[in-house]
């Protein structure tokens, strides 16, 4: 029955009929009723299975669904679900391999020249899935946020501070969609963002490459002073010149709840 439910259109290689006592006799397993045949009874489960999981995929990847359009999204989702059925009770994990699946099954996979929009949807799919993971992640929530007067050597990143680097303006597209707009597919443009969680609520901010690199130093465990040192070395700028820049970053990031002190 499971094979008949999970793969009614025979997209995998397993023939569900081999599980039946007689290859032609579903009637031998499932009862017909006054109003419906055995196949019609089974059909309710078959339609419900795919509709339910499509619905979950569409909730997990709502911006992606907008980007692809409902029909193309459904086609990708159906193929994915047939190839990678769920093995976990946690529906939040349903789309875990979807970005990877899109990557492996991109429509231009055999073409020498790759299409930009496909790169964008893969980045968007990864970002949407990661946002869900960050939302549910186990993390310390009991800490002191930094304030303007906090000693610099005490500054640490808040426990949930995730950095993203994209080849497309993914953050912009995602938040526009979440605000009820209908963004068009964007052109390629390198972009960066930081996702923060404070008191269990997520916030997403654009950052630029230099800020990404600086926060990345701290994400890798460097103190503010060591991150500054690495930064001026990498960007070959004068330390005192950077101090002015750092001051404006620090003010903005303290307001955005990027730093804690303990």
């Amino acid at each position: 029955m499971q094979q008949l439910l999970l793969d009614p259109f025979q997209q995998t290689t397993v023939d569900p009929k081999k599980f039946l006592p007689d290859p032609l006799a579903l009637d031998e397993v499932i009862c017909h009723s006054k109003k419906m045949t055995a196949q019609e009874h089974l059909g309710i489960y078959q339609r419900s299975y795919i509709a339910r999981l499509r619905n979950c995929m569409s909730q997990q990847f709502s911006a992606l669904e907008h980007a692809l359009g409902e029909d193309i999204f459904c086609a990708f989702a159906d193929d994915y679900l047939a190839a990678k059925p769920s093995y976990n009770y946690n529906l939040a994990l349903l789309g875990k391999h979807f970005p990877e699946y899109l990557e492996l099954n991109r429509p231009d996979k055999d073409e020498a020249q790759k299409e930009d929009w496909i790169d964008f949807i893969i980045e968007l799919a990864k970002f949407e899935y990661d946002i869900g993971v960050i939302f549910e992640k186990k993390a310390d929530e009991d800490y002191q946020l930094a304030i303007e007067d906090s000693l610099e050597e005490k500054l640490k990143l808040v426990p949930i501070c995730e950095l993203f680097k994209f080849q497309f303006p993914v953050r912009n597209y995602y938040t526009e969609f979440k605000h009820g707009e209908k963004p068009d597919l964007p052109f390629g443009k390198e972009s960066y963002c930081v996702v923060l969680r404070y008191k269990f609520k997520l916030a997403v901010y654009d950052i630029h490459k230099e800020q990404y690199d600086f926060l990345n130093y701290m994400k890798n465990g460097l103190t503010v002073s060591n991150a500054k040192r690495e930064f001026v070395k990498e960007y070959k700028i004068d330390a005192s010149e950077f101090e002015t820049i750092w001051h404006s970053w620090k003010t903005r990031w303290i307001k955005a709840k990027v730093f804690r002190t303990e």
Partner: protein
């Protein structure tokens, strides 16, 4: 009549849905208790679990699962049970329930509540698994009758008798979903009144009510609308036989604002009176498109940007 399995009558409750989190925390509405979908919180360490802990401090909570797969031929999933038990230790639910069904075999999960063949062999199989789960959780398990859309040729025991024998062999309790009885009876040609009269009333710890979609030849248990008059009348009969059970209204699709959800629950008070004739207007199915059966365990996330 004594409380079932020593468990309290929590009176009238609602399913806890993320759309209502803020309203509940802000207004502390006069609902007697809340039921959660266990899987929505078991592996979540974000806002939903944080809010659940706050709500559990103010209201009695019951944990209702959709993935125990008590009827599966796969081994019991002790990773699942471990996570379920950990949540129970944190939330301290009045009880834990799940369905008489299977959700998958060979480790696959269909995320649906699939029907079992009901016969002597499956009864032994299910009872053995219920006993193991009860031993592990150190509490009685409350088992719900699922809504079914098919029946098996090798079923030899009517569902109500199966449930009766199951409770006798395991001392588990019953969560009687009145809507599911109606849906299954319509889909599989049995008499819902015979079912209601045949189940062991003293084992009914809780009842479920919900809306469904009548698609003509069959009914889908959609949990996305008001309860139909026919289900209310079946509830009216059931309540006369099992009036110590806690009542819960499920609503999982097209979730309305809290006041609408709550007022639908409060209709049940009218139907507790056996002389109440019922409301005149019934739910009319205006939608043509077949909806998805519920419950479905997926939470929505909020984002500040």
């Amino acid at each position: 009549m004594n409380n079932r399995l020593g468990l309290p009558n929590l009176r009238l409750g609602l399913g806890l849905r993320s759309q209502h989190f803020d309203y509940i925390l802000e207004h502390t509405p006069a609902v007697d208790w809340f039921e959660i979908i266990s899987e929505n919180f078991m592996d979540s360490y974000g806002r939903p679990r944080h809010i659940l802990n706050q709500i559990a401090e103010r209201y009695p909570v019951v944990m209702h699962g959709v993935s125990m797969s008590i009827g599966s031929t796969d081994p019991l999933n002790f990773e699942y049970l471990k996570s379920l038990k950990a949540l129970a230790e944190e939330v301290k639910p009045a009880w834990i329930s799940d369905h008489l069904c299977w959700t998958g075999v060979m480790t696959t999960n269909s995320h649906d509540l699939l029907p079992l063949p009901l016969n002597d062999e499956s009864l032994i199989h299910v009872c053995e698994r219920i006993n193991r789960v009860q031993d592990y959780l150190k509490r009685p398990l409350i088992i719900e009758n699922p809504s079914t859309y098919a029946a098996f040729k090798n079923s030899t025991i009517p569902e109500w008798e199966f449930l009766k024998m199951m409770t006798e062999k395991t001392s588990c309790g019953l969560l009687l979903d009145v809507n599911n009885v109606f849906v299954s009876a319509f889909n599989n040609d049995f008499d819902p009144i015979e079912y209601i009269k045949g189940i062991p009333h003293d084992k009914i710890v809780q009842m479920h009510l919900a809306g469904h979609q009548n698609c003509g030849n069959y009914i889908i248990d959609t949990h996305d609308r008001e309860v139909t008059n026919q289900v209310w009348k079946l509830f009216q009969l059931t309540y006369q036989l099992a009036n110590e059970a806690s009542i819960l209204l499920e609503w999982d699709g097209n979730i309305p604002e809290f006041s609408v959800y709550h007022s639908e629950l409060l209709k049940s008070k009218k139907y507790m009176d056996p002389s109440f004739n019922g409301f005149e207007n019934d739910i009319i199915n205006k939608d043509q498109k077949e909806q998805v059966s519920n419950p479905l365990n997926l939470m929505s996330l909020e984002l500040d940007t």
